[in-house]
């Protein structure tokens, strides 16, 4: 059975924390969802920190570096591009990035990244 190409309902828009992350459980995957209210943008990446090897990225601080939206790992402070999941310090390291949107005031995630 695969839910992979579906948009999964997560939570209400109210549950988002502005300029910060939350974590959702989507068919067994931990997904970190970040919300930038300034331009009303959402990003979703995997919650697993490949350096610390634990699920904490949703608790990192967000912002941008040279215009690239990023999250900084709460453990050892590496940065990840929120659009692509690419680690900015180490080109060999990246995490999955996912599709995320708001529909009728509900937050939805799509693990295929559409």
């Amino acid at each position: 059975m695969s839910y992979k190409d579906e948009w999964v309902d997560i939570c209400s828009k109210e549950d988002l924390v502005p300029n910060s992350g939350i974590c959702a459980l989507v068919t067994g995957e931990q997904v970190a969802i970040f919300y930038f209210p300034d331009n009303d943008t959402l990003y979703a990446i995997n919650n697993f920190d490949p350096f610390g090897k634990v699920h904490v990225l949703s608790r990192g601080m967000v912002g941008d570096l040279n215009g690239v939206p990023m999250v900084s790992s709460p453990l050892y402070k590496q940065h990840f591009n929120l659009k692509t999941g690419q680690c900015l310090e180490d080109e060999d390291v990246s995490v999955e990035s996912y599709g995320v949107r708001i529909k009728d005031d509900r937050v939805e995630v799509n693990l295929t990244g559409e």
């Binding site: 997560i10 939570c11 549950d15 924390v17 502005p18 300029n19 910060s20 939350i22 974590c23 959702a24 459980l25 931990q30 969802i33 930038f36 300034d38 610390g52 090897k53 634990v54 699920h55 904490v56 608790r59 990192g60 601080m61 967000v62 912002g63 941008d64 570096l65 040279n66 215009g67 939206p69 990023m70 900084s72 709460p74 453990l75 402070k77």
Partner: protein, 845 residues
């Protein structure tokens, strides 16, 4: 057998030890088996700062010996053993305790002793020389009963001794043989003003007094009789009438001795025996002995270089000096008496402000030959550079000492100095050395000091070092980029001022007004901290939560496995049995790993994010508050048990620690802040290793500032002594607020202090003398923080919407199943990665 030669050093004083350090660092360290004799029971200590022993510094503080120095460098040291004979024939040294050591090379570093004038009665009880820590212990013992003290000798050391006596609470007299104080360094005008100033601070100066006899007094222990028929009654007598080189071993073995004392040395520091060197105060070079450390260090360097077949020579030394006696500035340079033929003199005298300045110049008014400064010695570094480097004087040399009249002061920019100019005489650091280090990347004052040692001795050269640094950076076009990150072209201090002046209350507003982009973890954390320091609002407020650093965002310290630790406050390390039981019950209920911290409290580890609110609710119900272990904020105030229980305690250290911890808890700062309070100078709370350290002494509390343990330990500086509690708290309010306002991000107080231009004296002038007129504001700001304190955990658990943030998943009640513990020694610990994979695999199958 080893082929090493044996090098014996007699005397482990300032210069002897400096010699050992130099040779240990040199390439020839392995060539020698080194043995040293140290007559005193203490290894080398800092005599220059000896008088600080009275301000609460301990023998350990004054020690010049780095931990394990002798072991690490394989140097044998015979402590408390005096060399009593040099047998040049057989090339061996014999000691009092019976050691006989054969030498290939011998270095004499025996220093000097205080000259005790040959007066009948000079060895009566409480008649003490002023040279060693032993002497100081004797003085302190004598001061317990003495009311009046007299110092024989009005020179540099005599005046310092007088200051010490006065600080011990004695009515103090200085008895000077001739008609001037500091007669070697000052002319009549300067000496007269100095005498006036010394009298003003309460020390009586008796000039032209030739003591002829010391006998029983009527009101005091002694009566000093003078040749002019007058008398002085005193309980204690200190001799500080000059020094006598300790050349006795040298003369006994037939080395050449100078007519006025001292083992004769040549430019290579060799004595009349080609295998024996002499350095420091026991040596006489061209019939001069040098009563300062810098020349001794220069001799030590020369000998190390000679031994390495180098050609460094000792060619004399500058005896210019500057000192500060209870607020009276005095300085003397070169030839203050204008004895050079043709010398001309400029003087400036300001009777109103009590300032005297004298310049001695050559016959063409082109070069500076000497100077005297009394009452205001700010020109000293500039004048010293003119003198030492033979820099041509400006057209009107007197402009150098006249008060500046609107137009730019005639100060000497560091640019005008040649590379060879010696900037730090304590460690012989030239401008060239500083420039090389700056070029090598030491672009802050702290880094430069660390790299070159400049300004870490007497500290007199600090301002000049800083101006060389600034000038070099500017020249190199190295704009030291002090912007905190790409989003804000400002320093932390700028941002603090913006917040304060424009009354900005959120990161978003500050970003809109003064920044670009979305921000990053650097500027967010910094500004989050500044806002919390200044406004002290609840950090999880909607406006603030996203700019909190990782740990602050969830009010707990994240551990390697993504769980958190929980640290309830236990002010001063005090906790009731019931409190401990409550903590234990919570730990047990949630299965948390329990450990005592280095900060005198209990840490509970392994709490999941979703468990934090309920754990804290239970702790708060049991009477605990947040310990802010997660914040860049006040951590703990450690205490020792103090006078309540301890038989040595002088005051209630626990009570004060609790009061202080409760006063400053919650204060957000550029980095964490730690305090400790000890009940006496045994220092069981290790207060001198804290940002703020307090020690109870007979006269009140002594305050130390800017110490820390951690990566680069630094002892705190003694800031003020004998304070009552009210003054103590005022000073701490001011120091801390000033730190919060001016430090860089992530800068501990120690690094802040090391980078502060003017250092400790400057901080004292701001905090004690209110030089910047800031003290009221600093206190008000602190009071506001104190008045708006809240336990952020209490606020959090009372607000449902805040508690919601602590769920691991926004859409599920499950917890993170990757958090797995293993049992060890009866408690949990995080599984390591292999263990975790194994256990997860088992779970799936």
């Amino acid at each position: 057998m080893s082929t090493k030669q044996t090098l014996v050093v007699i005397g482990n004083g300032m210069v002897g030890h400096n010699f050992l350090e130099n040779i240990a660092e040199s390439d020839i360290a392995d060539k020698y088996q080194i043995v040293t004799f140290c007559e005193e029971e203490l290894l080398a200590y800092d005599r220059v700062h000896l008088s600080e022993y009275f301000d609460g510094k301990t023998a350990a503080d004054l020690s010049l010996v780095k931990p394990n120095f002798f072991e690490e460098n394989n140097i044998t040291v015979h402590i408390g053993d005096k060399a009593i004979e040099i047998d040049r024939e057989n090339k061996q040294v014999i000691s009092e305790k019976g050691q006989t050591i054969a030498y290939d090379k011998l270095v004499l570093a025996m220093g000097s002793s205080a000259f005790v004038p040959p007066i009948p009665g000079n060895d009566r009880e409480n008649c003490i020389a002023y040279r060693t820590i032993d002497d100081l212990d004797d003085m302190m013992a004598a001061a317990k009963t003495a009311k009046v003290g007299a110092v024989v000798g009005g020179g540099l050391l005599g005046l310092e001794a007088a200051k010490a006596l006065q600080n011990l609470g004695l009515k103090t007299y200085v008895v000077q043989f001739d008609s001037r104080l500091m007669s070697a360094q000052l002319d009549d005008g300067g000496a007269a003003l100095l005498a006036e100033k010394i009298e003003d601070i309460g020390v009586s100066v008796l000039l032209d007094k030739n003591t002829t006899d010391i006998s029983d007094g009527d009101k005091c222990m002694h009566k000093m009789s003078f040749s002019d028929g007058t008398e002085l009654e005193t309980d204690m007598i200190l001799y500080s009438a000059g020094i006598r080189p300790r050349d006795e071993l040298g003369s006994a073995c037939g080395l050449d001795i100078a007519p006025r004392g001292g083992v004769v040395i040549n430019n290579q520091c060799l004595t009349s025996d080609p295998d024996i060197y002499a350095i420091g105060e026991c040596a006489s070079w061209q019939e001069q002995t040098f009563g300062l450390v810098a020349p001794g260090y220069a001799m030590a360097r020369a000998v190390v270089d000679q031994l390495a077949d180098g050609d460094t020579l000792f060619t004399g030394a500058d005896m210019s000096t500057k000192l500060k006696l209870n607020g009276v500035d005095v300085a003397s340079i070169g030839d203050p008496h204008a004895t050079t033929p043709g010398a001309l003199v400029y003087t400036y005298q300001n009777g109103v402000d009590g300032i005297y300045k004298r310049l001695v110049v050559d016959k063409d008014s082109k070069y500076l030959l000497g100077a005297v400064l009394v009452g205001d010695a700010e020109d000293y570094p500039t004048l010293l550079q003119y003198y030492l480097n033979g820099i041509e004087l400006p057209d009107n040399p007197d402009s150098l000492i006249l008060p500046s009249r609107g137009d730019a002061p005639a100060g000497l920019g560091p640019d005008a100095l040649p590379d060879s100019a010696q900037i730090c005489s304590c460690f012989d650091i030239t401008k060239g050395d500083l420039c090389a280090s700056i070029e090598g990347g030491c672009t802050t004052l702290g880094a430069l000091k660390d790299d070159t040692k400049a300004a870490t001795g007497c500290g007199g050269c600090a301002a000049l070092v800083k101006s060389v640094l600034d000038c070099e950076l500017e020249k190199a076009g190295i704009e030291v980029n002090t912007d905190i990150c790409e989003h804000f072209p400002y320093t932390r201090q700028d941002l603090y001022n913006l917040v304060m002046v424009e009354e900005i209350k959120s990161f978003t507003d500050l970003l809109k007004l003064h920044g670009t982009g979305q921000g990053c973890e650097i500027c967010k954390q910094t500004i989050g901290s500044i806002l919390a320091s200044y406004w002290n609002e609840y950090v999880l407020e909607e406006d603030h939560v996203s700019v909190q650093d990782t740990n602050d965002a969830f009010l707990a310290n994240m551990q390697k496995d993504g769980t958190y630790s929980v640290v309830p406050r236990m002010a001063g390390g005090e906790v009731t049995p019931d409190g401990l039981i409550a903590v234990g019950q919570v730990a047990k209920k949630y299965g948390l790993y329990t450990k005592l911290t280095g900060g005198q409290r209990v840490d509970l580890f392994g709490a999941r994010l979703d468990q934090l609110p309920s754990i804290w609710k239970e702790l708060i119900d049991a009477g605990f508050e947040s310990g802010h272990a997660y914040g860049k904020s006040l951590r703990t105030v450690k205490s020792c048990v103090g006078s309540t229980w301890c038989r040595f305690g002088v005051d209630d250290s626990v009570g004060l620690a609790i009061e202080l911890e409760n006063r400053y808890k919650g204060l957000r700062s550029p980095h964490k802040i730690k305090f400790a309070v000890s009940g006496c100078t045994r220092e069981c709370a290790e207060a001198q290793s804290k940002d703020i350290g307090i020690i109870a002494v007979e006269g009140g509390w002594n305050l130390y500032v800017c110490g820390n343990g951690g990566m680069k330990p630094r002892h705190g500086d003694l800031f003020a002594t004998n304070l009552d509690k009210e003054t103590l708290i005022k000073y701490i309010d001011r120091v801390l607020t000033f730190y919060v306002q001016t430090a860089d991000r992530m800068q501990r107080t120690s690094v802040w202090m090391d980078n502060m231009e003017g250092g400790l004296d400057y901080l004292r002038s701001v905090v004690i003398d209110d030089k910047l007129g800031l003290c009221d504001q600093l206190e008000d700001q602190m009071q506001r923080v104190v008045d708006t304190y809240q336990c952020e955990w209490k606020t959090t658990i009372e607000d449902e919407s805040k508690v919601k943030r602590f769920r691991h998943f926004v859409n599920s009640d499950k917890h993170d199943e990757n958090i797995i513990f293993i049992e060890e020694r009866g408690q949990i610990r995080p599984a390591n990665i292999e263990e975790r994979q194994l256990l997860l695999a088992e779970k799936v199958s």
